[in-house]
């Protein structure tokens, strides 16, 4: 049972810690660093609630070890909004469209939608919408019936809807 010294950056803040090898990144973020916005649910990669950005890419934080995040830049839900509290467009869209109810799956959903909108910045409306909907297959939401999330995706894909929201 090995222990390892790691250093990583979470939402712009540097952290150094010692972790047991078997600690998942999600567990370390929550228990080790207090970023409890990352929600662990199934812990075998099915539900998507624990999704965070690792070096800019959306990943399941239950499916990687904290020691594997040594040197990485991690962004959690706590790091999406601006410092002044202005919501990320994805968060705003979810809020505007009732894209959440209990909110348990929402941190993961928001991280995925933020990555996909960034990756498809220059894409057309249809392409963006397709990419967002497809990526949602990696998340399970038991409250909304997905309709609110679907509307939020519509808003994120359509510039006019997005401007009206602003």
């Amino acid at each position: 049972m090995s222990e390892h010294a790691i250093e990583l950056t979470v939402n712009g803040h540097r952290h150094a810690a010692r972790v047991e090898a078997r600690t998942s990144l999600g567990e370390f973020l929550r228990e080790g660093l207090g970023y409890t916005g990352t929600h662990l649910a199934c812990e075998h990669g099915v539900c998507g609630a624990c999704t965070v950005m690792v070096d800019g890419a959306a990943m399941r934080s239950c499916l990687m070890l904290a020691v594997q995040a040594n040197g990485a830049q991690v962004t959690t839900i706590e790091g999406l909004a601006d410092d002044d509290g202005t919501l990320h467009p994805v968060q705003q869209a979810l809020k505007d469209n009732f894209g959440l109810q209990c909110g348990f799956c929402t941190p993961g959903v928001a991280i995925t939608l933020a990555c996909v909108t960034r990756d498809n910045e220059s894409a057309g409306e249809r392409e963006m919408e397709d990419a967002l909907v497809t990526a949602m297959s990696g998340h399970i939401c038991r409250c909304t019936g997905y309709q609110g999330i679907r509307r939020a995706i519509r808003q994120l894909s359509n510039r006019k809807l997005a401007e009206v929201a602003e």
């Binding site: 078997r22 399941r60 070890l65």
Partner: protein, 289 residues
């Protein structure tokens, strides 16, 4: 903390990784993307003493052209492979199949070699390696060897890989420019393991099929090459191909099972349908072009 305790090592070279595997006497498990292994660890279905992380070994990453084919490093992330121009140009069937592997979030971490080496019978990448005639490169402290993909898989999650061996490359032979892609799968949600699926490549010359490589996934304990269907297609003129008859021949090679998601009978029935559809679609596309 869910997994049982283990030691973690992150070797910087293939040699070092092989040495750790050899020294651990079968108690070590290789982790690449971990998108299947981490669930098994969390559920304690896998309890290795040592986890060997191969993500820091540069030689195991990337896509390169080699004599007569394309070599994919096993630690290449699925998302990177999906964007790779060499693969898009030379192995369209690989790219089509890869688009169905897991979800956006798991492809960002999952690797090609992890999927190939694990041998999940319903997964796309093992069947793709079998269909396209890939060669699996393997190393250990005892030396190196190459195993054709169709001899690599021996059962569900079982391969010829010994506990001290590491997959160091997957070499896909070239298929001629303009070859056709065959792909269909039925899954409950996009990204889920397929209930039944097929992947393959076809070469047409002068209106007849001159080369065919087709494999099933989710249709038995391993990926299964559709040999009878390949034989029926080879040398056949397009006008004379009976898609339904070829599909029946293809299903004759399979050994599907019942599970929570579908019965063997369902898999055979749906398998024959999607095989015939894939064949019609792929060959019609060609004749319309």
């Amino acid at each position: 903390m869910k997994p049982a305790p283990f030691d973690y090592v992150r070797p910087a070279s293939i040699e070092e990784a092989c040495r750790v595997l050899a020294e651990s006497g079968g108690g070590a498990t290789v982790i690449a993307g971990g998108q299947t292994l981490m669930p098994l660890l969390n559920l304690r279905m896998s309890q290795p003493f040592v986890l060997v992380d191969i993500n820091a070994i540069p030689d195991l990453k990337g896509v390169t052209r080699v004599e007569g084919g394309t070599r994919v490093g096993p630690a290449t992330r699925q998302a990177d492979a999906l964007r790779d121009r060499t693969l898009a140009r030379h192995l369209p069937a690989f790219i089509t199949a890869l688009g169905h592997v897991g979800h956006y979030q798991t492809r960002n971490r999952g690797t090609i070699g992890g999927s190939v080496a694990l041998g999940e019978p319903a997964a796309e990448m093992p069947a793709t390696a079998v269909a396209l005639g890939a060669m699996i490169e393997i190393a250990s402290t005892r030396g190196t060897r190459q195993v054709p993909a169709h001899e690599f898989y021996i059962g569900p999650y079982m391969t010829v890989l010994e506990p001290d061996e590491l997959v160091t490359g997957i070499v896909y032979p070239d298929w001629p420019d303009g070859h056709l892609v065959l792909f269909r799968e039925v899954a409950q949600r996009p990204g889920d393991f397929a209930l039944v699926g097929l992947v393959g490549a076809l070469v047409l010359e002068g209106g007849t099929v001159s080369r065919a490589g087709i494999a099933w996934f989710g249709m038995g304990p391993t990926p299964i090459r559709a040999r009878q269907a390949e034989a029926a297609l080879l040398g056949a003129a397009l006008s004379g191909i009976d898609a339904d008859a070829v599909a029946r021949a293809a299903v004759a090679d399979t050994a599907p099972f019942d599970d929570h998601h579908a019965s063997a009978e369902y898999r055979r029935t749906v398998g024959a349908r999607i095989f015939a559809r894939a064949l019609r679609e792929t060959l019609d596309l060609r004749s319309a072009a």
